[in-house]
């Protein structure tokens, strides 16, 4: 009889330990590798878009390199803004 109760107690402890190790917030938070990769890509993508718009505008107005400079700077700013947002969402999680 007492050995049964011991068994049940042991099982209870095991369940508790298992519950602790799989804390409830783990499934929804992505791993840091993905997050870092995300940040790097955000900067590059925004710069590329800025540069692309600059090149198109310059080809259209024939003012090279005026718009390339302007839009590359704006693109860099947008990249920082993207990183800022990712960092914010990281903190919220």
């Amino acid at each position: 009889m007492s050995s049964d109760q011991n068994d049940i107690r042991n099982l209870q402890e095991k369940i508790q330990a298992a519950k602790k190790s799989s804390s409830p917030d783990t499934p929804n938070t992505p791993k840091p590798i993905g997050k870092i990769m995300k940040v790097v890509v955000e900067i590059v993508a925004a710069m590329a878009v800025g540069l692309g718009i600059g090149i198109l505008a310059d080809n259209y107005f024939e003012t090279r390199p005026l718009f390339i400079i302007i839009f590359f700077l704006l693109g860099s700013a947008a990249g920082i803004l993207n990183v800022f947002r990712v960092a914010k969402s990281l903190q919220n999680n």
């Binding site: 993508a45 925004a46 693109g75």
Partner: protein, 246 residues
């Protein structure tokens, strides 16, 4: 040059035509890329047809897998978008399963990784971007343009902030597609390069072999993770379109 060298880590990304087809001068040949897309769809359908054919109360493994993946995406969509996102569940779910299986089939030796080509991932990301923009304008009208001008910003800063916000918005499909493609491309190249080291080093090859096993485990993680990230970012963009005020 590549043909002379038996160790060629880039060869795995080559497109080869299986059945040549042309319509009005446009090449629409059935390639190995198309073949593995078909495989990914077949794998998804097999999982769900086999898994859900019995519908027992105590599920077997296949049924568990299909129900778990369904719940996973349904929960993700509910957390990120809320109840309004339910209408888009079929799309998000198909997207996740397709990318997931493309990534995983690509991990099997001698297969082709569809998602390692930028044009494939960009086609996805570009379509998602267009769809999300159209949904945003349909749900909010011209008020959707507010996302380019965050509230609480003085009017004299608008000429600076608005272009930055527009570029930030336009960079979404590029970052989305480049992330998935770069991860797959880099991961698979590294796997093949280290596999080449094993052959080249002969007896000493056991050292890169151990490393390769570890790397392969990491690649498996990344394959799942990238499918997850692609899907969750789609959900986040969808949420921005449905609720531009947040």
């Amino acid at each position: 040059m590549a043909a002379d060298n038996p160790i060629d880590p880039i060869h795995q990304f080559e497109i080869s035509k299986i059945a040549e087809m042309q319509i009005a001068g446009i090449d629409i040949s059935f390639t190995n890329s198309s073949l593995f897309m078909v495989f990914a769809i077949a794998a998804t359908m097999t999982l769900f047809i086999l898994g859900l054919s019995k519908r027992s109360i105590i599920p077997n493994r296949m049924q568990m897998l299909s129900e778990l993946s369904y719940n996973f995406i349904a929960n993700m969509l509910r957390d990120q978008v809320g109840d309004q996102g339910r209408a888009y569940f079929p799309f998000i779910f198909s997207l996740f399963m397709f990318i997931f299986f493309c990534n995983f089939i690509g991990l099997i030796p001698y297969t082709f990784t569809v998602t390692s080509h930028l044009i494939v991932t960009f086609a996805f990301a570009g379509l998602i971007f267009l769809a999300v923009t159209i949904i945003g304008f349909m749900k909010n009208g011209l008020g959707y343009l507010r996302i380019f001008y965050p509230s609480g910003i003085p009017i004299f800063l608008a000429p600076l902030i608005v272009p930055i916000e527009i570029i930030s918005y336009l960079s979404k499909p590029i970052s989305l597609s480049v992330r998935l493609c770069a991860n797959m491309l880099a991961g698979h190249s590294i796997l093949k390069i280290f596999a080449g080291f094993i052959v080249m080093l002969g007896f000493l090859g056991f050292a890169p072999l151990i490393f390769l096993v570890v790397l392969y485990a990491l690649e498996t993680l990344i394959a799942a993770l990238q499918a997850y990230i692609f899907t969750i970012l789609t959900c986040i963009y969808l949420n921005d379109a449905l609720h531009p005020d947040h």
